[in-house]
Subunit: 247 residues, 2 copies
DNA sequence: CGCGGGGTTGATTGGATTCAATAGGCGTGG
DNA sequence: CCACGCCTATTGAATCCAATCAACCCCGCG
């Protein structure tokens, strides 16, 4: 099973806008692969404006707040563009680092610009990805602002399932790799490590999930979604006009 | 003092990119003014893709979560573009409504597109505004995720000061209009009304602020900033390349 | 004058944190 | 090969910040 998986970026963008072989190839060619990055290594430290894409592994975006407090402001899965600042000509927000061994691809900003000019669909797909990224951010605010611990964790596990599924990283129906420590989960969800631990236990006891070796299996999808108020709609790309809306 | 203030949108965008008289006028001309909107009226309910700008008053963006819970995901001050979805061709995230009597201007999306093509600086400024909008969102995550109640409120009051100052809505050094109820503040900061009340009292007792008639005065800016871990840098527009960065 | 919304206060409750200690897994080095 | 150390997960106890519940005050308004 050492097969070279399809580029997750292609899967991601292809999920937004159907792309022809020519476009896929052009996109693939533009990506510069770098050597694998070790866990807990900072990405994007350099001032380059390249478009960075997580190719494999898991990464996060975070911000520091004096006295050692840290907030993880976003989790990044393969196929994710780390930061969309290049769209507005601004630098990345906060810091980025890997949470496990990962690969990061880069598209030099000039290549990217040329690519988008030649292939409007690619541009369109990137814009959709950016919109979904923003929607994920909104959901994070909802979680931190008014969801209980149980809801936050349940919601996160559902979200990860859908995001990983979109890039073909879910195996056997509902199992996916999620190499994150409980402490990191806490930093992402605004909860203490201890409470994350107890909350995960509750979800396991209820039969919603099982966890083994950094792999999460959702045993009761409906139950977990209900527990976390999860509605996958925000992960889809909704365009006004292209899809007639009920109202 | 009934003078027609300078269009806050011009002040906002002009703060990002210096614009000539021609550009300012073109921008002004593009904005369609609507009749004043009453408090607690929903904006953007229609499916239009117009670029909406708050011209006066105060508004918020919010999302609902079953069982009546509501999270205010953003506060909007004059000069703010309500939603940047038009940049990605997607619809607005969540709902928008006024918090007090307000005016909303609209730029039909076609006019906007034409405007940006003819005046690249306007496009550039809008992109900067979009980036700052995103940065404000990140700070919100920080607040909800790891700031204490006191820090959240202090931070918010500092943020509003800077945002309103940017559009000329601060009077007498540090006084600004902030017609928001404590309940709404709580919904924005993920705190209960009662706790907001007590936190505001603490800030007043410490001599950081005074409040009267919906007007906030910051009496001790340094103290309030320190209390809220507030650093105004994220409200500035930082562009890679245009400004040399220390590192 | 009664009503309603917003602000204030006190008492109580509770979800989550913090502190503290133990257990398990894994890599390194003796 | 085992010992040691480190990191992560787990558990229990105590504490605390903020929520909830419940009045009450104040004021503008019909």
């Amino acid at each position: 099973m050492e097969k070279d998986r399809v580029d997750p970026l292609l899967l991601r963008l292809g999920g937004y806008v159907a792309m022809g072989a020519e476009e896929s190839e052009a996109l693939s060619r533009a990506v510069r692969r770098s050597p694998a990055i070790q866990p807990y290594e900072e990405i994007l430290g350099d001032g380059s404006r390249d478009v960075c894409v997580l190719q494999s592994g898991l990464a996060c975006q975070f911000k520091l707040l004096g006295n050692g407090r840290r907030q993880i402001t976003g989790l990044l899965v393969p196929g994710d563009i780390l930061d969309f600042g290049f769209l507005t000509g601004t630098g990345p927000q906060g810091h980025f680092m890997t949470l496990c061994r990962s690969d990061v691809g880069r598209i030099p900003i000039q290549s990217f610009t040329a690519l988008c000019e030649q292939h409007p669909r690619i541009m369109q797909a990137v814009l959709r990805a950016s919109a979904v990224h923003a929607a994920i951010g909104q959901e994070r605010v909802l979680s931190l602002g008014l969801r209980t611990a149980l809801e936050r964790v349940a919601h996160l596990l559902c979200e990860m399932y859908h995001r990983l599924d979109a890039v073909g990283l879910v195996s056997g129906r509902t199992t996916y790799d999620f190499r994150i420590t409980q402490a990191e989960m806490g930093e992402a969800l605004g909860l203490s490590t201890v409470h994350i631990n107890r909350t995960l236990q509750a979800l396991r006891r209820s039969g919603y999930i099982t966890m083994r070796n950094g792999k999460v299996t959702i045993e009761n999808m409906d139950g977990l979604c209900a527990e976390g108020n999860f509605d996958p709609a925000y992960l889809a790309n909704i365009t006004i006009g292209s899809q007639a809306r009920p109202n």
